[in-house]
């Protein structure tokens, strides 16, 4: 049809006319709501006040619901990597997913996923992936540290118990973000079943997590990997996800360990294989600030004192802030030392494993550096003599600078940039950072590189990338290199390691392997210049009696460098100030000596470096000195520095200097202070002369009468006011107040005016003055208005807003306070910040920890609060889990996960009675909370916990037995159980009884005097007094007379003791492969079952047939007197009931004659006829009467009707009459009245 071809006409917009005008007006915003309001005010008026109130109320409710208690934002500027835990039942695709995600983010392939894998996922975010196996211990531990959980679900199978168990664990320990991932979706052939399953799973997941929780679908595998686009989407979700702060995590520091080194002396291990190990553990610090020397709990191992903490440069740093959208290829870092990737070990016991920077392009090797390999490398590298040398070095801290160089010469290996990363606690390396700023440090490295071999090509670029302007030629070189290899922009660690390996290759072998694995020996020491300042530091400290090697690395004790550097200068000043520091002078001397000695050494070693260092030092020292001058008494040193040893005197005695000499010091001063009077009063030693005027003048400004600060001064404020409200006339008095501004302003501008005092310019100045004054006035007005606004015009700021603002302010202050302080010093004040990569040294770990180390199991260092290391009684609220099929029995051991810990303990269940008594329960209630008392680690109230009956192996059914929360901590328990003491009466006077068998001694009775007792039948009584014989008998009174057969009992409450079992679950110490086999104390039931013991039942408890004897009751005897008084009804009846009539009284029967019989028959017949007639007549009569009654009724009705009508007529007439009467009365006055 042609209609089809014809196009529909386009709408033509009007460009003129009234419609177009209207439209234009509307476009210009002519008629707004305001307009409407004006035009039609009624429509906008309040219709209903109630409704308005309601809507307002509701709006406020909604607003208030959104409020949370504001918390101070303590997140660090550079947060630690987000912990992404991948959980799921076996064979669900966890490793594959991690591998795909890592590939997605870093373009690198990873073989075995061992331990945490940290990657840089974006400009602001790093991720740490951790796979969670199906050991419930692992699940518990990882739930505590997870920020995000990827919960893998095999869609072809459905949910498995592990999933729900993990969700329940999460619920208890703070709910991290949870994202579900459905895998194995390709196993569905039918599309409809697929959709149905997806939906079912989704809804079930939502009920478990929250409505609308994200569930991802990974539809299928392509060449053993998930589809790229899907993984990418998942990755995107992860990298934009926001996390909620969890209470436990934000209040405790923790480290998910990603590297572990055994530092124990190999010789000692050889001779004593079971000796405790010294282990250093590495990882990102998360949670909150970590204090040095704190206590940590390692779940699965136990509680340990941290010997030392120091922070290392970030092995997986975020890219530098640059304005670009995506990450550079070189910035996509991957760090997984346990998996053997990025394991750039820069410690003294070091192994270097490297992936080439461009290895993405290279063919992937099947052989990946695994932990076994690393382990083997470690094993081979440490020859005994090297170790010996190293150990010697650490001992002789004084000569520490010499040795590494020696070793350097011996080995002939130059490891320039690596040295920078060496973190030797024994030489307090961390201090170097303070004295030399970053540039300094890097400069040193560069220099060393120059010295060593200049032909290194790519080791310089990124190292010196940040140290611009230090060395011009170096920089040029570096620039060139940058241009050449733009992609060579990896992290310093990778870079340096690579450089090293290449260098060694050049030195030694000819052909480099495709994947470079280089094992290098690590020096016990480092080059001199890098260390020299530390030595200065240390020598000082040694002189201050705290330089023992073990504690040297302790950053909690190291004092600030620059100040100390200049200590010599102001030592004498200090001495005057310090009151109890007679040691100071000696310090000074010792310092000077040590410094000199050290200098000479260092100069001998490496002149260049030393010179550089000196330059720097001089400059720094001069700066520091100036600062010192400004603040004369170096209080920090006074407080923490030199006198620290007075406190820990225990260490003094064993202290050694340089490993040879014992420090012996006159201890007079210490003894003097140690036992003096303990008083907080601070009396002035040199009292000022307060009689003199000048002294009094010195505090004049402390009073309100003194001079005020600029802007606060009352006089200036007053002046301001005067200027504002210059002249006014007092209308009441008629006075005219003139503003004095002219004079004042003249005074203010007097200098200017004095300069040009010419008369001719006077007028010009005047004009200028006017302008100036006007401006000034405006300015003042503005200021005043601001002040007014600040005071009154607070908007509708609520309490909540105020609180939020306060928190905001505090957060800003927290950030700003230590922002410009160097990290070295900052960690002393703040502790180590979350986000730092830290190394923790623990000195006494059991050897099984190292021997049975399995990187698949997470190692967590959970920091403990100040008193969380102690044990006490905990009172908890507990509920048996709905899905656990048994109830729990009191005194059955239970494994609990509380705080960081997993431990076995013996709980007592109880319930609170209405009077506050905690009554012991034998079993937990089925569907109710009950209390429980346990002996366990002190943990803050409000912490959640979960309980398991066993952690060994896997079971088909749900393993979480109970969940709960800590309520109270104490050192004693208040649980009681009911105790009924039973006794029998042996003598009964009226209401008084003697009762025996309840107590054994008089004393016991005395304790219970006045206690109430009861009989089984319910007669109440009271214990009165003990009797002398038999022992334990007493006199009691009752409200009624007792029977000898009565049983008397006393209800009492007996306090129970909680068994003190605290048995940490040491699952990490079990051999590899059997780590899920931890079995603790068995329950009584298990024990009996295992040993085949059966309970012998109490014979009294067995059921027997009840045999009851016949009871006879005596006759009721009523006294005669009473009988008399009773009414007849109640009187016992005297006469006997009628018996049988005796034979003589019985009458004989009559036998009739035949004639008599005939007569009788006739009479009988006649009577019958008569009766029949009578009956008939009666019925007749009855019917007649009935008819009559009917008629009568009819008549009655008719009569009534008639009467009614008649009455009606009558009333009508009467009514009319009445009306008439009324009408006439209304018309006027009645005539007849």
């Amino acid at each position: 049809m042609d209609g089809k071809e014809r196009k529909q006409r386009k709408h033509q917009q009007k460009h003129s006319g009234p419609k177009a005008d209207k439209k234009k007006l509307r476009k210009q915003g002519g008629s707004t709501e305001e307009d409407g309001r004006k035009r039609n005010p009624k429509a906008f008026a309040v219709q209903s006040a109630v409704r308005m109130a309601k809507t307002f109320h509701r709006a406020q409710d909604i607003k208030a619901k959104k409020h949370h208690i504001p918390l101070v934002d303590r997140t660090p500027l550079e947060p630690p990597p987000v912990v992404v835990v991948v959980v799921g039942p076996p064979k669900v695709g966890k490793s594959t997913l991690i591998r795909c995600l890592i590939k997605n983010f870093t373009r690198q392939k990873l073989g075995d996923i061992c331990g945490p894998v940290t990657i840089v996922s974006g400009k602001k975010r790093r991720l740490t992936f951790m796979e969670c196996n199906n050991d419930i211990n692992t699940m518990i531990d990882l739930a505590k540290v997870a920020d995000l959980v990827l919960m893998l679900i095999d869609a072809s199978f459905g949910f498995e118990m592990e999933t729900f168990e993990f969700l329940n664990i999460c619920q208890v320990h703070g709910f991290p973000r949870i994202m579900g991932v459905l895998t194995h979706l390709d196993s569905f052939k039918n599309n409809k079943t697929l959709r149905k399953t997806k939906k079912n799973l989704k809804h079930r997941f939502w009920t478990e997590v929250y409505q609308g929780a994200k569930l991802f679908y990974l539809s299928g595998m392509v060449y053993g990997e998930y589809q790229i686009q899907e993984v990418k989407n998942l990755g995107r979700f992860i990298s934009v996800m926001k996390f909620r702060p969890l209470v436990w995590q934000t209040s405790h520091p923790y480290v998910l360990v990603d590297r572990m080194e055994d530092l124990t002396d190999p010789e000692r291990v050889r001779t004593e294989p079971k000796c405790d190990r010294t282990v250093s553990l590495y990882g990102y610090l998360r949670g909150t600030n970590l204090k040095n020397k704190g206590q940590v709990h390692v779940p699965g191992v136990g509680d340990f004192q941290v010997a030392d903490v120091n922070f290392l440069p970030d092995p997986c740093p975020l890219p530098d802030a640059q304005k670009k959208r995506a990450l550079n290829e070189k910035e996509r870092l991957l760090y997984a030392p346990m998996a053997g990737v990025g394991g750039v070990v820069y410690d003294k016991d070091a192994v270097y494993i490297d992936l080439p920077a461009n290895h993405v392009n290279q063919q992937q090797e099947e052989v990946r550096p695994t932990t076994e390999l690393v382990q083997s490398l470690i094993d081979t590298h440490a020859t005994l003599d090297v170790k010996m040398a190293a150990s010697k070095v650490t001992l002789f801290s004084g000569s520490a600078t010499l040795d590494p160089a020696d070793i350097d010469q011996q080995t002939g290996e130059k490891e320039g940039p690596r040295e920078k990363l060496v973190w030797d606690p024994n030489t307090q390396r961390e201090r170097r950072v303070v004295v030399f700023s970053e540039e300094g440090r890097e400069e040193e490295e560069e220099e060393e590189e120059e010295d060593d071999d200049d032909d290194d090509d790519d080791d310089v670029d990124d190292v010196s990338g940040s140290s611009d302007g230090e060395d011009s030629d170096q920089e040029e070189e570096e620039k060139d290199e940058d241009e050449d290899e733009d992609e060579d922009n990896l992290s310093t660690f990778l870079k340096e390691a690579r450089a090293k390996s290449e260098r060694t290759e050049k030195n030694g072998k000819g052909s480099p392997p495709p994947v470079k694995k280089q094992k290098l020996e690590e020096k016990g020491e480092v080059p001199v210049f890098a260390d020299s300042d530390d030595d200065l530091e240390r020598s000082q400290e040694e002189s201050e009696e705290k330089g023992d090697a073990g504690r040297a690395g302790d950053s909690g004790h190291c004092s600030e460098e620059d100040e100390e550097a200049s200590d010599d200068d102001d030592e004498d000043d200090n001495d005057e100030e310090s009151d109890d520091e007679s040691v100071e002078e000696e310090d000074g001397a010792a310092e000077a000596a040590a410094e000199e000695q050290m200098r000479s050494e260092s100069e001998g070693e490496e002149e260049q470096g030393a010179l550089r260092w000196k330059d720097c030092l001089q400059q720094k020292a001069s700066e520091a000195f100036l600062r010192q001058q400004a603040a004369a008494p170096n209080l920090r040193k006074l407080v923490y520095g030199s006198v620290a040893e007075a406190g820990d005197s225990g260490e003094d005695e064993e202290e050694e200097l340089g490993g040879l000499f014992r420090v012996s010091r006159p201890q007079k001063s210490k003894k003097f202070t140690a036992n003096s009077l303990d008083c907080s009063r601070f009396d002035p030693e040199t009292s000022h002369n307060w009689d003199g005027e000048e002294m009094l003048n010195s505090i004049r400004d402390c009073f309100v009468t003194g001079k005020w600060e600029e802007g606060q001064d009352a006089a200036t404020l007053l002046k301001e006011d005067e200027e504002l409200y210059g002249d006014f006339e007092d209308l009441e008095t008629g006075e005219v107040h003139k503003g004095q501004k002219e004079q004042q302003d003249d005074a203010e501008n007097s200098e200017e005016e004095e300069e040009d005092n010419d008369e001719a310019e006077e007028s010009l100045v005047k004009v200028d003055d006017d302008e100036l004054q006007k401006n000034k006035r405006m300015e003042k007005k503005r200021r005043l208005k601001e002040r007014f606004d600040a005071e009154y015009d607070d908007g509708d700021a609520t309490y909540f807003d105020d609180l939020k603002e306060e928190m905001q302010k505090q957060a800003e202050l927290n950030r700003a306070e230590f922002e410009d302080v160097d990290d070295e010093i900052r960690v002393q004040y703040e502790g180590f910040r979350p986000g730092m990569y830290v190394r923790l040294e623990i000195s006494s770990l059991p050897c099984e920890f190292v021997n049975n180390f399995d990187p698949h199991y997470p190692i967590i260092l959970g920091g403990l609060g100040s008193s969380e290391g102690n044990i006490g009684y905990l009172q908890v609220r507990l509920k048996k889990h709905r899905w656990y099929e048994r109830i729990l029995k009191t005194r059955d051991p239970l494994i609990m996960s509380l705080g960081w810990r997993r431990f076995q303990t013996i709980p007592l269940y109880h319930i609170e009675d209405h009077n506050g008594r905690h009554r012991l329960l034998k079993y937990t209630p089925e569907h109710m909370h009950c209390g429980a008392s346990i002996w366990g680690p002190i943990t803050p109230q409000g912490t959640g916990f979960l309980a398991l009956q066993s952690v060994a192996g896997t079971k088909a059914n749900f393993r979480i037995a109970a969940t709960g929360v800590i309520l109270d901590l104490d050192k004693s328990v208040t649980v009681v159980k009911k105790l009924k003491l039973i006794g029998h009466p042996y003598k009964i006077f009226k209401n008084t009884c003697f009762i025996k068998g309840m107590f054994n001694t008089v004393l016991e009775v005395a304790k219970f005097e006045g206690a109430s007792v009861r009989t089984v039948s319910g007669v109440r009584g009271q214990i009165k007094k003990a009797l002398s014989t038999p022992l334990g008998a007493y006199r009691a009174t009752f409200e009624d007379r007792l029977l000898m057969s009565d049983i008397v009992f006393l209800r009492s409450w007996f306090p129970v003791t909680v068994p003190q079992l605290y048995n940490p679950v040491t699952s990490l110490l079990l051999p590899v492969g059997a780590k899920d086999g931890w079995a603790g104390m068995r329950t009584l039931g298990q024990l009996k079952y295992d040993l085949g013991i059966r309970n012998k039942p109490n014979t009294d408890s067995l059921y027997k047939p009840v045999v009851r004897g016949q009871r006879h009751f005596n006759r009721l005897h009523i006294p005669k007197e009473l009988q008399k008084a009773l009414p007849f009804k109640s009187k016992p009846k005297q006469q006997q009931p009628k018996g049988k009539t005796p034979r003589d009284m019985q009458r004989p029967s009559v036998i009739r004659e035949p004639s008599e019989r005939k007569v009788a028959a006739l009479l009988q017949a006649l009577t019958t006829v008569h009766n029949h007639k009578k009956k008939k007549a009666h019925t007749m009569q009855h019917t007649k009467h009935k008819e009559f009654l009917q008629q009568k009724e009819k008549q009655e009705v008719a009569k009534l009707k008639r009467q009614k009508e008649a009455r009606k007529k009558l009333y009508r007439v009467m009514g009319q009459k009445d009306q008439k009467k009324q009408r006439s009365s209304l018309k006027g006055a009645p005539q007849d009245d």
């Binding site: 101070v72 303590r74 209040s251 909150t288 600030n289 204090k291 040095n292 206590q295 603040a631 004369a632 008494p633 209080l635 407080v639 923490y640 006198v643 007075a646 406190g647 820990d648 005197s649 225990g650 210490k670 202070t673 140690a674 036992n675 009077l677 303990d678 008083c679 907080s680 009063r681 601070f682 002035p684 009292s687 000022h688 307060w690 009094l696 010195s698 505090i699 400004d701 402390c702 009073f703 001079k707 005020w708 505090q810 202050l813 927290n814 306070e817 002393q828 004040y829 703040e830 502790g831 609060g865 100040s866 008193s867 969380e868 006490g872 002190i938 109230q941 929360v965 104490d970 605290y1062």
Partner: protein, 347 residues
Amino acid sequence: MASHGLDYDGCNFFRQRLVLSTLSGKRVKIKNIRSRDDNPGLRDFEASFIRLLDKVTNGSRIEINQTGTVLFYQPGLLNGGSVEHDCNPQRSIGYYLEALLMLAPFMKNSLKATLKGVTNDPVDPTVDLLKSTALPLMKKFGIDGEGFDLKVVKRGMAPGGGGEVLFTCPVRRTIRPVQLTDPGKIKRIRGVAISVYICMCMSFNRIHRKILSFGLTLVAETLSGSFFSAEMSSTPQGQGDPILPEDLGRNCAKLLLEEIHRGGCVDSPNQSLALLLMTLGQQDVSKVLLGPLSPYTIEFLRHIRDFFQIMFKIEVQKPLEDERKGGDKVLMTCVGVGYSNINKTLK
């Protein structure tokens, strides 16, 4: 698994150690208590203090050796509640109260302590001084409310004792961080003068032999609510030279001037209390401006580092050229440990 303990020497700073030990849960061992003294071992007042500590805690373990030269203290949990204690009259109630002020906010039940003994003596801060300076200071840390009070029920002087003080303090879960950097200007000076066994209508000079004791406490309040205090008490009879009340008053005033000269937001006897409450605050930055640190405070800072691993940033603030505000001030900055009262029951 109990946390490691700390070892100390000598009886000085006895209270600090025990108080910090109680708060941190770390056990402490004090050795060589007056070991070289003619009269070695713990004194009665120290024993009395330990007894008081035992009363307010639950589950503390205290071991003292035969001679009393070694004390081992494993702290229990702070219980609080109603406590009555006869303080040994060798030291005034202030000695005991200072420690109790530090512990009181962290108890399980709110503390209601009746302390009996000497209320005023020249050695320790008197009850009046603590009442007028320490309590307002604690209020700034968020410890206030209905039951926060210190009441002097009876006075008692040095040798005999017989005074009675009622101290009540509510329980707090957390302590607020503070920024006390502006001391403000002094607006008023108040004081308490006490005398025992003196007929006030008579001239002092005439009967000063019969005078047994008298004392004066002066408190200067600033606009921003800081308090400076000074006090003097006459020495107990028979000890030292008798002093005229007029002289005592003058000297006390001079002491107050000295205290003002030191300045800061907290006066010298309360420095350690302020620092402790800063330490036990949330993990936030607290700042307090102090006058010169007293030796007691310096030792306290070291102890805080031992027990809580907290170091203070100490900055000396020199007065400006034209300012006439007394001597150097010290700005103390720290980040709290994030201490929360683990004794308080969760309902």
